[in-house]
């Protein structure tokens, strides 16, 4: 035993150190993924007997209008959430200067990311609220009739995304600010001597050096858009009449909410969402792997 240990110590040690993490990951992340897939083939209310129904849940999903709405909203989320990357970059560049009290300004811009999403949702609900909301009042002042964003099926998703962008831009900004600290001053100096300024300086000198920050910003934004749940839940509960649903909220509604408890159907939605996320995540992992092997 001890001879084996001596011979293979260097090979085994990393695995022993990794074991606690790996076991946790397997039990709490990997296993539930397969359990969800398994449940998605059943008709189960969480109480009685689970009945095997094969792919019937998926067949129902394909023809479910709520699923179409949720899917469409997820795509809108994904597209508009991407705005936080250029917006965050813009603010970061704007704040990346040395004036008196800049630290205070930076922390003020970072503030929306510090407060909880639930609070962000509440603030924006009041902002939009018919009758007394600030935005409602402003629109009423200019056009004569107020618009209740969260009651309008065509506007509601955009209203929620606007609320989500507020903290997300702050998050991306902080990523870029740390990135800008690492921009090599000698390269900027050299570019300046060569006559580069403005857009060309940004595009050819600064941005290439910010690539790692951009990569992380895109990853967290994509994942943030796909798992958007708290804002939808707080601001509209998926309403009016389900027009602001996204996949993660629809999954919660069917499986766990007051009128839900269709565990199999909810699990099927979760599997679809997992599939969509996997497309992006494997893309990201592939890119990271490629970058590392190239080096």
């Amino acid at each position: 035993m001890s001879a084996y240990w001596k011979a293979n110590q260097r090979r085994l040690a990393p695995w022993l150190f990794l074991a606690p993490g790996l076991i946790m990951f397997a039990v709490y992340v990997i296993a539930p993924i397969f359990q969800s897939m398994w449940i998605s083939f059943y008709d189960w209310d969480g109480l009685g007997e689970a009945k095997w129904i094969g792919t019937a849940n998926y067949a129902e999903l394909a023809g479910d209008p709520n699923m179409v709405t949720s899917f469409k909203n997820n795509i809108i989320w994904l597209a508009l959430y991407m705005l936080s990357v250029p917006a965050g970059l813009l603010i970061a560049i704007f704040l990346n200067q040395t004036v008196r009290g800049i630290r205070l300004y930076k922390s003020l811009f970072f503030f929306p990311f510090v407060i909880s999403q639930v609070v962000v949702g509440l603030i924006f609900s009041w902002f939009y609220a018919p009758g007394f909301g600030l935005l409602y009042k402003v629109i009423e002042f200019f056009t004569g009739t107020g618009v209740a964003i969260l009651a309008d099926p065509d506007l509601v998703t955009y209203g929620i995304i606007a609320a989500g962008l507020w903290p997300q831009i702050a998050y991306v900004m902080i990523l870029y600010l740390t990135g800008l600290n690492n921009v090599a001053p000698d390269q900027v100096e050299a570019a300046r001597l060569d006559g580069a300024k403005g857009w060309r300086m940004l595009w050819y000198v600064i941005l290439p050096q910010l690539r790692p920050a951009t990569f992380i910003a895109v990853v967290v934004t994509v994942i943030g858009a796909l798992r958007s749940f708290d804002l939808v839940s707080i601001m509209t509960s998926g309403g009016p009449f389900g027009s602001s649903r996204v996949l993660s909220y629809y999954m919660y509604e069917t499986a766990l909410s007051e009128y839900g408890y269709r565990m199999g159907y909810g699990a099927a939605i979760a599997v679809v969402l997992f599939g969509i996320m996997m497309v992006f995540i494997s893309g990201f992992i592939w890119k990271m792997w490629r970058d590392e092997t190239e080096r």
Binding site: P130, A151, G239, P240, E258, R262
Partner: protein, 415 residues
């Protein structure tokens, strides 16, 4: 030191023995519930009375948060069952009955003459010809109105007997002219809209039809359903415009401020109206107007109930408790404290509360009592239905699409 340790041990042992002796004297009855503060105090008083009458029983009330309870009950019924649990009547209890989680308590009903005393609630407690729990309170739904708003719009204030449907609709036009919402609601949480639909349905086609609809026996694309929505369309333009973005309390504020005249609500809203400054003088109540002449008047009266889970260990005492809760005196006292109506017809209600007395009279004379849309219809149908009703109140031109979708859901829910 050794002596002192031995002494401490002896004291410990004595303490342990004495506490187990107490436990032997009193039989424990575990009760899981979801009361808000005022009902909680009332139920604690009822439990004190019960323990005074049964000194050998110790009721241990374990109170949950109201919303969290709806999830918790599914866990504790299977994992760590109490002897008693709160829930609701009608289709809401059907999943638990079907899964064998609630105990048949027909013998409690038979032994205590409850079939007669709790007659109005009996039907909603019955599944497969058996009783699955005991109701302890319910409350009426109807139209609450602001008399000041009526005066401001120059509309005659309805008397206790209410108005007819044509008058109600024509009043709405006058309110519109005065810039007041004729009918207010806040459908952000969906269910307040279902109250309006329930009454449209009960008044247009009657209780039996409404029960058939919620039981999935009538197609949503049927002509009779369209009749209900035709009536609803008459008041749709006069409903508060942004109801989909506000909660029922926000709509209550509109009524209190006189920006809205009528509100289809349950009696629990009276507390909110009065907190907002309304009094018995300017807050009015009437039954929902008759629409199709000759249909016997039925009402919504959601009933709260207590059940014995199948995993209960102290069944005998649990049944004693149910019989006590069902008794006329206990219900009189409990409901006086929480401002609702007793389900026992031999109980009495406070004569100085005009809403309680009106509700008690209204429900005792009703042809039949519906629970509420989301308790009469199965969960999935209820959710889709309430969304459809909300959508109709916003986009009445989408009616055909709404009904088609509901019909599709009906095909999936009732197999």
């Amino acid at each position: 030191m050794v002596h002192r340790k031995a002494g401490a041990l002896a004291i410990m042992a004595a303490l342990l023995m004495s506490s187990s002796a107490i436990a032997q004297e009193k039989r424990i009855l575990k009760y899981n519930a979801d009361y808000d503060p005022i009902p909680l105090a009332a139920m604690e008083a009822l439990i004190a009375d019960f323990e005074a009458a049964n000194p050998d029983i110790d009721v241990q009330l374990n109170n949950f948060d109201h919303e969290g309870y709806k999830t918790a009950i599914r866990n504790f019924l299977t994992a760590d069952s109490p002897d008693l649990a709160n829930w609701y009547a009608g289709n809401r209890m059907a999943p638990f009955v079907a899964a064998g989680q609630f105990m048949d308590v027909t013998d409690v009903w038979d032994a205590n003459g409850l079939n007669e005393a709790l007659g109005s609630a009996a039907a909603s407690m019955t599944i497969d010809g058996k009783k699955w729990g005991v109701p302890y309170t319910y409350y009426q739904w109807g139209i609450y109105f602001n008399k000041d708003a009526y005066a401001a719009a120059g509309v005659e204030v309805p008397g206790p007997e209410g108005v007819d449907w044509a008058t109600f609709v024509s009043n709405c036009e006058k309110f519109k002219a005065a810039g007041i919402d004729c009918l207010t609601t806040g459908t952000k949480a969906l269910w307040p809209g279902a109250g309006i639909f329930d009454y449209m349905s009960l008044r247009t086609n009657g209780y039996e039809w409404h029960m058939d609809l919620t039981a999935g026996k009538i197609a949503w694309t049927d002509e009779s359903v369209k009749k209900v929505f035709t009536e609803l369309a008459k008041v749709q333009p006069y409903v508060t415009a942004n109801h989909a973005a506000i909660d029922w309390q926000d709509a209550a504020a509109l009524l209190v401020q006189g920006k809205a005249a009528n509100y289809v609500m349950g009696n629990f809203a009276v507390g909110v109206f009065k907190e907002g400054g309304m009094t018995n003088d300017n807050l009015g109540f009437m039954a929902f107007p008759e629409i199709t002449p000759g249909i016997p008047r039925s009402e919504d009266a959601p009933t709260d109930t207590i059940h014995i889970p199948s995993g209960a260990t102290n069944v005998e005492d649990a049944k004693k408790f149910l019989a006590f809760v069902a008794s006329a005196d206990a219900q009189t006292k409990l409901n006086a404290a929480i401002g609702q109506l007793p389900t026992n017809k031999n109980s009495t209600v406070a004569a100085d509360d005009p809403f309680i007395t009106a509700g008690f009279k209204m429900l005792s004379e009703a042809h039949a009592l519906a629970q509420f849309f989301d308790r009469d219809a199965p969960a999935e149908m209820a959710k889709a239905g309430m969304e459809g009703i909300q959508q109709f109140l916003v986009q009445p031109d989408q009616l055909d699409a709404i009904l088609e979708r509901l019909e599709q859901v009906r095909g999936q829910v009732y197999k």
